[in-house]
Amino acid sequence: MLFTRIVDFFQGYVVLYLEGIHLERFLNMAINEDIYLWDLKRLSETTMRLKVSRKGFKRLRHLAYKTKTKVSLCGKYGYFRWRKKAFARKFFILSVLLAVVLIAFLSSLVLDIEVIGNTTVEKEVILEKLNEINLKKGVFRGNIDRDKVSNKLITDLDNISWVGITEEGTKVIIEVKERRPAPVIVPKEIPCHIVATKDAVIKNMTIENGDAAVQIGDVVAQGQVLISGIVTSEKADTRYLHAMGSVVGKTWYEETVTNKMFEYEKEYTQNVHTKRYIRFFDYPIRLSFSDQVPYYNYDTQTERKIFGFVTWETNRYSEYTLHRKERGEEEVKKQAEEMLTENLYKTYDREKVLSVTFEHSYNEAGELATRLLAECEEEIGEALDFTKEMQIQEEEHADE
């Protein structure tokens, strides 16, 4: 009954004022014709008020005639009346609806991308990289794959070691942390030495300014002065220079990895379990019976279809069993060597690497330890400002 009342309200109803002597007969005839009436109120012996749907009212007229009942309209209510008024202001209604749709749509897009934490890498470079994976202004917010974005930035840009992505409404904030600190650059007016950045054997020296403190073939330690900014000569006074030049030395790179002699291999059974979710603004509603996956080991594959702020998500869980597989010695050695070589070439260019040797040995746990030892040549000079040190020394002398 309630449902029909709601329907009647939407379709519109009228309030009638009846006058007659056979009102009961009128009522009986009305209900026999399946017309639904409500809110009947007896006003006097010959008058009555009731409410009926618009459709019902149309069918009542001939009944009123038959029972000689006078029918007068007391009021019209319902959705249809509102609609009449609304149609007179078509454009207003339309623009209100359009505004609502537009706001909802725009809220689901990315409207601003902010990059923070970058000191050496230019913001434009980061934005360009993001553009390549389709993260730019105007993309749907739901489509952002955080892992994909951070992987892209870390692999493509050397200096970045960590990427954090947060969303604040329609703004996407990319926070980066860089790997190497910016190189210390000593201004030209300040005198300095060129010192070694690591232990090495001097291979080449080119001096632009200053005095050489070492020779080709010398073994130097980290921090040792290679080109001195203090120039003494018999003819003139001691001069303090800003030492400049390039010193190339032979350095060593070492890294060890251990690998187990067996591995666990995944073998997929045919069982796949599917769970579906609907997300409204990132809030998921589970459409499957439970949240638990009935497998012990499984891989998850997620498929998302995004419509504005509604996302249809399907997760597929593929079961697998693990088999322990013994690996051949040659295979493990080769894998270790490849990994170490790859790491080596991340730090040094190929031309700089002079020689590479591998050492394999088994440790107590039965694992294969592989050690890479490489000789590389690289620039080992670094400017070191000695004025502060000199000031401290002078002060000490002054005290004496």
Partner: protein, 101 residues
């Protein structure tokens, strides 16, 4: 002999249940499917009757309705019909009494 006649008379006095009633009871279908009327009284404020046939009299002090086998008379004060359709009727107001005959 006399006993038999008595039993027969007793049987005759009972009204025969209609086929519909038998089916409803045998199959244990809900009562609404049979043609009995169902009266629900909420306090003394609201009375709803399902499966009635028609209105005989409607006044603020007395309402008389017809059902399949008998007539229902409701009296009270300020009686109004909340809703009415083909088979159901709901009466509200201050109900003083109901009579079935």
């Amino acid at each position: 002999m006399a006993r038999k006649k008595e039993i027969q008379k007793g049987k005759e006095k009972e009204p025969k249940p209609s086929l519909r009633e038998i089916m409803t009871q045998a199959l244990e279908l809900p009562v609404e499917l049979s043609d009995l009327s169902k009266t629900t009284l909420l306090g003394n404020k609201e009375l709803s009757i399902q499966n009635f046939k028609g209105i005989i009299e409607y006044d603020t002090k007395i309402i008389r309705l017809n059902t399949k086998d008998f007539m229902i008379k409701i009296w009270g004060e300020n009686l109004n019909i909340k809703n009415i359709n083909d088979e159901d009727i709901t009466v509200n107001g201050k109900i003083s009494g109901i009579e079935l005959n």
